[in-house]
């Protein structure tokens, strides 16, 4: 069944309100196996709203509308649906009773409230347990229109409590549901990744999409099925094939983050970690400690932003520092070794680079970063040249440092 969502409300078109309703509804509807083809946002303007509703009814079997159910003059949704579908408005006495009950005493009832108890004829009313604006499900020629309020809390409660059971009943039990697995990939560009798996893409079962998350890529595998076991089997097989091709480049599944994954590995291997950060200024430690329980493996670190801090906190060799500079292989190495030693950690991870926008030279341009990982057997040092602004260079540095650590933990039997 094709569905679409119309959000009404001028505030959405003034850039004052983030439309979270459409996100929530889309996720709910795709979960029910509905195919959501369009989102449209339109203001409280009668002509535009009528046109939008008509168009939606022409191309979809199920149209969801949010907003415009209030008592004020610009709340037009129900009237417009009636016009668009050629239905009359009729008074619903039960709704009026609920609205009256919502106010502690009748004197408080605004005169315009009565408007909220009128619905297109034949509508099934959806009660609003958090406000005075009821919603409705309206059927016409085998197509359905589900009308929900605009305030997110009211919309969600009404959807879950009253709309969802009715929609499930309409769809029957043998509905197609959507099963999604997200495979998180680090270290490949979007088009490189596409080349690696081009034979798997552009199929409908499973359906694969790529989403560039800037520091990594989400590879999303989707199966639409009424059979949960079968769907999970297809997802498992697809994941296995993709892991087979991409190997270590797959760093996590679904909501897993890089910092969760390294936390899990450090805990398994009973290793402790310390960090020494220059260009990332604490972001790396901040990311690692975003995980609850990270004190099990993370001891702490130094933010050695100034050269003096590199000397004082990490014991970097001052002669080397002036000879090779703060952004160098030698300094990265001495920082990683320094913090490992200072905190008695198994592993020391360091970053030093030029995040910009200033400070770049011909030899050491903005975006040049060294990352080092000191361990009991030696040091790994990587040189990277990142593109982008200060923020993205710092973020790429953090993710790359975590990735170097992850690969090391996977490959080394420490």
């Amino acid at each position: 069944m094709r569905a679409e969502i119309i959000s009404t409300g001028t505030e959405l078109l003034l850039g004052k309100t983030l439309n979270t309703n459409v996100f929530y509804l889309t996720s709910q509807l795709t979960g029910l196996g509905l195919e959501v083809n369009y989102h449209t946002t339109v203001g409280d303007n009668k002509e535009r709203l009528i046109e939008t509703v008509r168009q939606a009814f022409n191309r979809s079997e199920m149209v969801f509308l949010t907003g415009g159910l209030g008592p004020t003059a610009d709340d037009l949704t129900k009237e417009i649906i009636a016009m668009g579908l050629g239905l009359k408005m009729s008074f619903n006495p039960e709704s009026m009773t609920s609205i009256v009950n919502y106010y502690d005493n009748k004197d408080k009832l605004p005169p315009s409230s009565e408007k909220q108890a009128f619905f297109p004829e034949g509508a099934e009313v959806l009660p609003n347990d958090l406000g005075t604006a009821p919603g409705a499900i309206i059927e016409k020629d085998g197509k359905y229109c589900v009308v929900l309020p605009g305030p997110p809390a009211e919309m969600k409660l009404m959807f879950e409590r009253y709309a969802l059971p009715k929609i499930q009943a309409l769809l029957g039990n043998n509905t197609l549901r959507l099963f999604v697995r997200t495979i998180k990939v680090f270290g490949l560009g979007e088009s490189e990744l596409e080349q690696e798996i081009s034979d798997l893409m552009h199929k409908s079962l499973p359906f694969i999409t790529l989403l560039d998350k800037h520091t990594y890529i989400d590879l999303r595998v989707t199966v639409r099925s009424s059979n949960e076991d079968l769907a999970r089997k297809i997802l498992d097989q697809t994941e296995a094939v993709i892991r087979g091709r991409l190997g270590n480049k797959v760093f996590g599944i679904d909501e897993e983050t890089h910092s969760q994954v390294i936390g899990k590995l450090l805990r398994q291997k009973k290793l402790t970690l310390a960090t020494a950060e220059s260009c990332t200024g604490g972001l790396l430690g901040g990311r690692i400690t975003a995980e609850a329980g990270s004190s099990d493996y993370y001891l702490g670190g130094a933010v050695s932003y100034a050269n003096s801090a590199k000397l004082k906190l990490l014991g970097v060799n001052s002669e080397h520092l002036s000879r090779y500079g703060a952004v160098s292989e030698v300094t990265a190495k001495e920082m990683a070794e320094g913090i490992r030693l200072a905190l008695g950690a198994d592993l020391g991870l360091s970053t030093t680079g030029i995040a910009g926008p200033g400070g770049g030279t011909k030899d050491k341009p903005v975006g040049l970063v060294y990352i080092a990982l000191a361990h009991s057997q030696g040091v790994i040092i990587e040189r990277k040249q990142f593109a982008g602004n200060r923020d993205s260079i710092r973020n790429m540095t953090v993710e790359t440092a975590l990735n170097i650590l992850r690969i090391f933990l996977l490959q080394n039997p420490l």
Copy 2:
């Protein structure tokens, strides 16, 4: 001028991605005085996309599209615009050069990259400084189509750096424009703030809205006018009145962040800063160093996550540590003093607390945080009890620490 925004991308129709692009663009476009009438989201489906683009061109003078600029086969935006407007695709050699330069070496260049250097004929190319997908502005019969990438960071940077100046030039000067000043307030809840300024709210000139940004509140003052001088005068007066009432609680204006403001104050007063972080794990240093040039005043710090790191990097007294615990007034004080001394900084700022979800006790519940600021004359220590999850407790700690530092710098003639 009537405008509308089309977001493309199947991920938006799967309910996996919140569409923040449309929120950002709407706010920017209304700020320019454009009337945004519609938002439409459509998947990577050729027929639906063509139909949506045609409809938009029929009813609006300026159409903004995001997404679908990548190198993969389902990235169709530019081709579809060309089809919809009856234009041919033509190769842009300069864009190809930028794409090639984005990769360190040409061997890494994916063959499908060439696609990204093709544009509808006559298009003005908008460079992408954060990725390989350039955007474009396309003019046809006095109507404009602005094509931007889907990843939010790329979209925003391209819009601000390249699209905005061109759109401003196209619009000329005599339009009714929106002037906005955002007054950033720390340390008051939304309803407390509303009480303080209730007489100023609910007017149309200036129009004031409050937006809870979780750690602080944005108080937005809006004036719609064709007279820039008059608008600025109203904004200045309103800002003065609000500052008069809220005093130090106003920490910044417009895009200013807490870390920018403290950077400016430290630079003015020629003071240096060092940090010692426990529960924030580096986030405080990360926030301070988000500002370019922060090396002028920030020396660095210690992330003393484990108790051993507090002893080794900060010289915290081990007897005190076991008597009072890591989350205590004494430890916060010794951390701040310790890092100030270790790095020879003028100021030492420390955080220690229980970010949760585990680790809380009856006496020291989750959300309990101590923040200390050591200076040449002594130490300021504040005890806070924050609500929320791990993330929000850590963020509130960082913002509160910056706020304590800001108030100190404003009040003390060091």
